[in-house]
Symmetry: C2
Subunit: 293 residues, 2 copies
């Protein structure tokens, strides 16, 4: 039944006598209500900057302890009036690390290396194409993930959010977070705990001026606090009265609409493209979020 | 001989009794003078913005006709006092298209579809890992390229520069250029003419505010000319007196140092990494450029 539905969407449609394939946007516009799922307000962060709001969806299914730490920090207002302290071109923005006093008060938070997890129960919707870095890639919930058949892990894609760490693998508690702003740095997969992804307002992070470094290697840390971007507050959506929460939904992997969406991105067939790619990697499938209808 | 040199660089080095592998930066620092090549001033563009200089290396070997058009436009000062008119998050910035008057005066420039070329003579230094999009990937000169064994084409990586076109494949003359500022949009490979890549000053383009669109789909075009970024001028380096040219060099693909550099990026083995990736895709190998020594 599912299969037939997907096949119907993938087949060319006759429009004005000419064969046409649905574009990714067409697929999203036609996806039925039951192909969409609401973002869990208990796992959705609102990070308010002077220029606007960044919305981050947390992944407690992949990083339960680190996400619990982050929620505890949010509840303690740890991030309020903190700063974005780093922007390295084609890599990451990073926040809150440099506030040593705040960090010290939260030193009791234990870090945990949540780099991968067992795949049971299996929930990964596989992509059909070969990935350079992982034996299997696909989507689990609303997150791009990789697997070797035994473990599963989140991928470092544009917009992925992780917990910075020092050399000790269990040193990332969540007091210091980063978001990927460049080409997917997939070499970080399974080396650091990813805790979620930005689902709205990514442009507010990616367009920040890049920081420089007077000492040695360029890592994008701002040289002066005057260059920092203020974080006014971070709140969990579930802390706010329901009327003040954003009503956001994502297209569910495993639905016929999602299958059709991936195929529409694998092979673009509008009037502009002359050579459909015939393949796609997970980080080139943006999991857009829409307002609830 | 080459092989032995590369093997020596790849082997662990004994430092203070502990085994250590050279980092990518170590490899660059140790690369001998003959592993570097000067950028050709006749194929190097200086795009001067109010905030600083963007340096673009052109690829006449891949797009001879489109590059010739661009040089003609530069000589005619077509780009001087023009504007960056588009910045779409996780995609591209684009310049000069919207100036209809200027465009009209250069309508005589013929566009050419230079999407791929025959591989003969073969010059592609292959990468060892499987790419999702192309049967073979590697580097040709200082450019990331793909191949199917018959043709060769430039890849859309972060910083790649191309000639925008309309639906007609031969409609991209060079009056309108774009630079990739997000995740490699590899679906564009072989669909549009790439003409070079940004080798310095990429952060000046990538950190521009994103444009919005009141009408329909978001494509990042600025809504008002007041949001444009001015392009003061574009000059070919060879137009300037030698003393005013930047002395820039790139690491030559095919040298032992380049092989070692790729391997150092494929498998990071410093104290931080717990899981070397064991693979790399072409767009994750930044071809950094240094000042001549």
């Amino acid at each position: 039944m599912r299969r037939a539905f997907a096949a119907a969407l993938l087949a060319p449609l006759l429009l004005g006598g000419a064969a046409a394939y649905p574009s990714p946007d067409d697929v999203l516009a036609r996806a039925p209500a039951n192909a969409w799922a609401a973002l869990d307000p208990a796992s959705t962060l609102y990070m308010d900057l002077p220029a606007g709001r960044v919305v981050i969806l947390l992944a407690p299914g992949f990083a339960p302890k680190t996400v619990a730490n982050i929620k505890q920090l949010v509840a303690a207002r740890y991030f309020d009036n903190s700063s974005i302290v780093r922007s390295q071109d084609n890599y990451v923005v990073q926040w809150s690390q440099e506030d040593k006093a705040k960090k010290a008060t939260n030193a009791k938070l234990k870090g945990t290396a949540e780099f991968e997890r067992p795949i049971w129960p299996p929930n990964l919707v596989h992509l059909p194409d070969h990935d350079t870095y992982a034996p299997i890639t696909g989507f689990d919930g609303d997150f791009a993930a990789g697997s070797d058949g035994k473990s599963e892990w989140l991928l470092h894609c544009y917009g992925s959010v992780g917990a910075g760490r020092d050399n000790a693998p269990d040193s990332g508690s969540g007091v210091e977070l980063y978001a990927v702003t460049g080409q997917a740095p997939r070499q970080l997969d399974r080396n650091i705990t990813l805790v979620g992804r930005v689902v709205q307002g990514m442009d507010l992070l990616s367009s920040l001026p890049r920081g420089g470094s007077a000492q040695g290697a360029y890592m994008g840390f701002y040289q002066s606090p005057s260059q920092y971007t203020q974080i006014k507050s971070i709140r969990l959506a579930s802390e706010l009265p329901p009327a003040q929460r954003l009503k956001l939904e994502y297209l569910k992997p495993g639905t016929p609409s999602f299958t059709a969406y991936v195929e529409a991105r694998r092979n673009r067939r509008n009037d502009w493209f002359v050579h459909p790619a015939g393949a796609i990697d997970a980080c080139n499938i943006p999991l857009s979020v829409r307002g609830a209808r």
